[in-house]
């Protein structure tokens, strides 16, 4: 029988920048203003008690929000986690290293300082000899090496660590997940947006489905990037990829009428060969769709099974409410809701895929990406139709 409910957890939000429509806005804003960000219930149980902003742009909203909700903004991460004392004074950390003025490198990666901010948080854990659960928004890092180190440190310091995108956990159309332990042969996805930022969402959406396959996840053996004409050629000569591609278009809610080849001026494909033989083909199709669609071909199946991962196209971007619900589960239970290895693997897949592109679309062997983990039987996404349907 459940005991009396414990006090709401106190959370420190460590963000790069907090302005209108930033990730800090749509995540922290749900803690402050409720899931629909309208000042009304329902709201997450946990309370934001401190804030740190790496940057303060002209359109910053953190100062006003902090005043409005009586949240203290600190000049250092140390102070945000200890609330001015010498001990850890929060029950959880939210690390939102998305958005802000950061340079692009020559691989087209935005150099968000997630690893750097993580190291500062972990240093506060080292200093106080205490640790609490942490959620890191989106990919762990643009760099596989840094992403791997973050997970290693979380094991060393023994704290619950979760990460990733809202795409795998938002509502789906149809409301479907891969049956746990299904033997899977091929997979794919069709999405839109920037080569790095949104390709990541697409890949993690797909990964959240394929990780449920028979024998669990054991990592990725190779990756290859294709662009432009090479993408259409690949589709022409790879029937299974075309099958999944076409199936994805049937569930998209934004599919433009017309021929893909005419609508999409600069297609990109990221191909992956998993270690257990699963092959995946993911496509960035700007001009054809404006949403995230995943498709799988179970072993022996003749038809691909597609699913749309459904994002709300305007404020308050309700898919982040689904993400916050998943984060809340960890803060309350002390266990990650799903393994951080999902995001570790996808961060690595993306880094190597962009490396393939950088090296002239070479197929790269990725022995490093031997990330093994098992997904739970239980699905983790928002069931049923969303409020914005």
């Amino acid at each position: 029988m459940a005991g009396p409910p414990s006090a709401p957890k106190k959370i420190a939000a460590i963000v790069t920048e907090y302005r209108n429509n930033s990730h800090a806005d749509v995540v922290v804003g749900k803690y402050l203003d409720g899931y629909r960000q309208n000042g009304r219930a329902p709201k997450p149980r946990s309370k934001i008690v401190s804030l740190y902003t790496a940057q303060v742009p002209k359109n910053d909203m953190s100062r006003a929000k902090a005043k409005e909700h009586n949240v203290t903004i600190y000049r250092t991460i140390w102070e945000a986690l200890t609330l001015g004392t010498n001990k850890l004074a929060v029950d959880g950390v939210l690390l939102i290293g998305e958005h802000g003025n950061y340079p692009l490198n020559d691989k087209g990666q935005k150099l968000y300082p997630r690893f750097e901010l993580f190291l500062e948080i972990a240093d506060a854990f080292r200093r106080t000899n205490q640790s609490v659960p942490m959620f890191s928004d989106k990919h762990l890092s643009y760099s596989w090496i840094r992403a791997k180190r973050m997970v290693e440190i979380s094991r060393e310091l023994d704290f619950p660590f979760m990460a990733g995108s809202s795409v795998p956990v938002t509502h789906r159309s149809p409301d479907w997940d891969l049956e746990w332990d299904t033997p899977l042969d091929k997979a794919g996805a069709v999405a839109y947006g920037g080569k790095e930022a949104y390709a990541y969402h697409m890949m993690e959406g797909m990964q959240s489905v394929v990780e449920r396959r028979r024998d669990g996840e054991s990592g990725v053996a190779w990756t290859e990037c294709l662009e432009n004409e090479a993408v259409w050629n690949y589709l022409d000569r790879t029937p299974w990829a075309k099958k999944i591609f076409d199936a994805c278009l049937t569930v998209s809610k934004t599919r433009k009428p017309g021929q893909a080849r005419e609508l999409v001026k600069e297609p990109t494909a990221y191909l992956f060969g998993y270690r257990d033989g699963l092959e995946a083909a993911t496509f960035m199709m700007n001009g054809l769709v404006n949403d995230f669609n995943v498709g799988v071909l179970p072993k022996g199946a003749s038809e691909a099974k597609p699913v749309l991962m459904w994002l709300e196209n305007g404020k308050p971007y309700g898919h982040f409410a689904c993400l916050v619900q998943m984060i809340e589960k960890m803060y309350e239970s002390g266990e990650p809701t799903y393994p951080v290895e999902r995001t570790l693997l996808v961060s690595g897949m993306l880094d190597f895929a962009l490396e393939s592109r950088f090296q002239g679309y070479r197929r790269l062997q990725t022995a490093e990406l031997d990330v093994k983990y098992e997904a739970s039987r239980e699905s983790h996404y928002c069931k049923g139709d969303p409020v914005w349907a």
Partner: protein
């Protein structure tokens, strides 16, 4: 003993001199006239940065640049001198292996596109880069000496943590400005063990960017006083008319001010108070009773002078700390010479606590300004350290190569 040279012949060289150290440079940016240019450039192209002159003994073996601006020169230098640039600090320190592959680390976190906060501090990511460097040390189970250019951090809390980590992990650490170790005119030091009573330092330019150098010019002198350094108890910043009022109402400050500025080689013509539109002063009260006033006089001077009253002496000790106003920025050769001593010996040439204290004093001075020029009590700044008698600034006139310590 002159760095980078020996009086003995080649066969003794082979028998007795250990191989040069390998050094990694971890930088915010490397572009013309940046600190990376004038420091790393000496490793790559010699003391005169002409590609011909001798230079430091240590070899630069890897680089990391946090930013790559349009006028980046790291890529060109990397190619020219066959020094690889790595995408991560981990790789720069292990050279692509799983072990520490360098004997020393240069952390140059000055220059680059970083925001200013509301205390007029530029948020250089020195603490963040330091955490990454030391995380590599944790990962591979081995450490190396680290030099951090300029203040440890704009933040006292971060600066202190950096020094604490270096103690915890047991590696030599040095930091700070080139000003304390450059040539002096006259070539004198504060008499070691003498009792200092009042001190004045004068410089120019921005509160954060040069206020740091100013405080180091002061600290490198007064740290030699009787009883050693025991920290700072209060800090206050004043600006504009309040600065002249302070001077006019504080006889010791006025007297030492005049003595210090007499050494300046760059004083503008005409009335100082007309030339200096926005004077600033940092008033520093030390725990042992020493009082100091450090002035920034943009428009009035373009150099660093100090004057300090000593008990029992009618004349204060005073001098100019000379910076070369153009290539090859000789004062950085003096700094490099001192860094090299640490890389070679494994012992910091002077204590990192000097820069811990100046970093903290500067943070609190800017906090004082932010709080409306309030005098702030600073119990946190109880930084205690001793320096040896030996001086470390560049001896003689600035044309001896390689540079030699006093």
């Amino acid at each position: 003993m002159a760095a980078g040279a020996t009086a003995m012949g080649p066969r003794f060289l082979a028998a007795h001199v250990p191989p040069p150290k390998n050094v990694a440079a971890i930088m915010t940016v490397y572009r013309p006239n940046s600190h990376s240019d004038v420091l790393v450039g000496k490793y790559l192209e010699g003391w005169l940065q002409d590609g011909k002159s001798p230079g430091p003994r240590s070899k630069l073996v890897s680089m990391y640049t946090a930013q790559v601006p349009d006028n980046d020169m790291s890529r060109g230098m990397s190619k020219k001198h066959n020094v690889p640039i790595y995408r991560t600090i981990y790789e720069a320190l292990t050279l692509g292996t799983d072990e520490l592959a360098v004997d020393g680390v240069l952390l140059i976190g000055e220059h680059g596109d970083y925001p200013m906060n509301d205390k007029a501090q530029k948020l250089y990511p020195r603490f963040e880069l330091f955490l990454e460097i030391t995380d590599v040390f944790r990962q591979v189970g081995k450490t190396a000496p680290v030099f951090n250019d300029k203040h440890l951090s704009y933040s006292w809390i971060k600066a202190k943590r950096m020094v604490d980590i270096s103690k915890e992990m047991g590696f030599p650490m040095m930091a700070g400005s080139s000003v304390p170790v450059s040539h002096r005119k006259p070539s004198i030091d504060f008499p070691w063990g003498a009792k200092a009573e009042k001190a004045v330092a004068i410089s120019f330019s921005g509160l954060d960017i040069y206020g740091f150098h100013l405080l180091e010019s002061l600290q490198c002198m007064v740290e030699r006083r009787r009883g050693g350094e025991t920290g700072v108890k209060a800090v206050q910043c004043l600006q504009n008319q309040a600065v002249w009022d302070f001077l006019d109402n504080t006889p010791w400050a006025k007297r030492l001010f005049d003595r210090a500025i007499a050494h300046s080689e760059t004083r503008s013509e005409g009335d100082l108070r007309q030339n200096v539109k926005e004077p600033a002063v940092f008033l520093v009260d030390y725990n042992d009773g020493l009082q100091a006033a450090a002035f920034l006089l943009t428009g009035g001077v373009r150099d660093f002078t100090v004057a300090i009253d000593i008990e029992g002496r009618s004349e204060p000790v005073s001098t100019l700390m000379w910076l070369q106003d153009g290539k090859p920025h000789r004062h950085f050769a003096c700094l490099t010479m001192n860094i090299e001593k640490m890389f070679e010996s494994g012992v910091a040439t002077y204590p990192v606590e000097r820069t811990l204290l100046t970093s903290g004093t500067l943070d609190f001075a800017l906090e004082s300004r932010f709080q409306g020029y309030k005098k702030l009590e600073t119990p946190e700044l109880n930084v205690r350290y001793l320096v040896p008698k030996k001086s470390n600034f560049c001896a003689g006139p600035p044309n001896i190569d390689p540079p030699v310590s006093e």
